[in-house]
Symmetry: C2
Subunit: 294 residues, 2 copies
């Protein structure tokens, strides 16, 4: 779906997600002016070199001036400071959205700072790879993936529709959800898997040297998938865990109880219990294949 | 590498691995006679239909009669019974190998039963998918993967060389290793990841219904990779955990300690500690990419 939805888009953060969205806009909406904002000069230089932006700046306030859409695509820990800096510079009627993985934190840090004449539409395109930075992005990243928007009770319906259209242009299926509910679902589908993958890869790095080198060599048996997940951006993930603490700890607690039960079944040789669980999990895999998410 | 290495090969078990090896033999060694043995009539019927064998039987003793190579490719729990049944029927000088994931258990269950005039070469082609059965196999399954052979001190060098040549024909890189060491390496690279994946998918199935359906819907964020692993064959994996109990429990214990430490860091908001770990695990991912196992 082509067409210009916005005249001037400010991308605050031009990493994997920001730069992929820039590529979508370049492809489908070549008349849209893109302003990229990042803290590091190398990142801005890359954005220019890759033709991801018409203008670049390290000043969020300058970036948002005149923009009808502002997309915050930085780690969550930067949100409050960005909110403070852009608030006075936002155009009346501008739409502010974000792509962060914890929606209650995004709302907590941004909503109180934004002027009432600005429309805030918190969002989360559920897409990514373990790579980061402007070079890692690609326009097809979002294709056939879900985008979850978590509007507030007073979010303007027109603004919500325009952000929906943006992500649909990127090829996403858009749903809306309550922010707290989003954070619990993602704690299970994404945050807990990352906690676990980071942990197991950490456990492997602490092995004695002879074992460790062979773990890398023979990683094809399952471990490799975990290392891919555990190769994701460290700062982004630090922020996700710190900002979705309650939901992550709850899911982690459930997981730990189940792991202890499984450990006990292995120790006591309870084969029937193991086989029963493994048959149940195979059924879940089939549901996911049927839901076309595999 | 084409060429006939064996005249008559008995495949005891014709699932993912057995049927993939049959396909390799059909491709590279069309004159080799293949005998497939399985307990279920449907499996034997599938082996015939897919032209994976010249002869099929549900009797292991009949299958191995006259074979110069016997490949045991069943779940580990069947080994002892198979050993008892084939021992009197094995040809003098025959080579017996297997593909099981726990080498000390394979040796424990088979070595004492086999006649001294037979050569036993325990082996583990480290390759697989989450699918099982004769339909799931394909000749390219083994390509560029590792095969670990764990010969005994008295294993015949000629027999070891011939089994090495077989897996090299299938495209594998073959190494030899002590059986106990193999079992510890695989406990970390394969068995622990499977314990964890089975657990987390089990945790998700126990969620309240509204959350569970959305976990399936939005599984793209990491959970999906775990469901793939947790979709693996239930009986095969039950047997692996029961037969590599000590090594799996040791790795699980290390993992649990590390998980508890990470959980504590999340609870107390120790961002530096999280970022430090995540940076370390990213480096491991890079080693795996450099080792060309990604």
């Amino acid at each position: 779906m082509s067409g210009k939805l916005f005249d001037r888009v400010a991308l605050i953060g031009i990493g994997l997600i920001g730069s992929s969205l820039a590529r979508v806009l370049r492809r489908d909406s070549p008349d849209t002016v893109i302003v990229a904002c990042a803290r590091r000069a190398e990142t801005l230089e890359a954005a220019r070199r890759l033709d991801l932006a018409d203008e670049v700046t390290d000043d969020p306030a300058a970036a948002v001036a005149g923009a009808d859409l502002v997309v915050i695509a930085t780690p969550l820990s930067a949100y409050a400071e960005i909110g403070r800096r852009i608030a006075p510079a936002l155009r009346e009627g501008a739409i502010v959205t974000d792509v962060g993985s914890v929606k209650s934190a995004a709302i907590r840090d941004l909503a109180p700072l934004l002027p009432t004449a600005v429309h805030f539409v918190p969002g989360h395109p559920v897409a990514g790879t373990e790579h980061s930075g402007p070079e890692a992005g690609f326009a097809e990243l979002f294709r056939d993936r879900w985008c979850i928007l978590t509007p507030l009770p007073d979010t303007d319906a027109g603004a919500l529709a325009r952000v929906t259209a943006l992500w649909e242009q990127a090829g996403m299926r858009v749903v809306t959800m309550d922010a707290e509910h989003h954070d619990r679902v993602l704690a299970m589908t994404s945050h807990l898997p990352h906690v676990i993958a980071y942990t197991i890869v950490g456990t492997a790095t602490d092995l004695e040297e002879s074992l460790k080198s062979e773990v890398i060599k023979f990683s094809a048996g399952g471990f490799r998938d975990f290392t891919r997940i555990a190769g994701s951006d460290p700062v982004m993930w630090r922020d996700i865990f710190l900002n979705n603490r309650e939901a992550v700890l709850e899911m982690l607690q459930r997981f730990s109880e189940d792991l202890t039960a499984l450990q006990r079944a292995i120790r006591w040789g309870e084969g029937d219990k193991l086989e029963e669980l493994f048959t149940r999990t195979r059924a879940i895999r089939r549901s996911i294949i049927e839901a076309k998410q595999a």
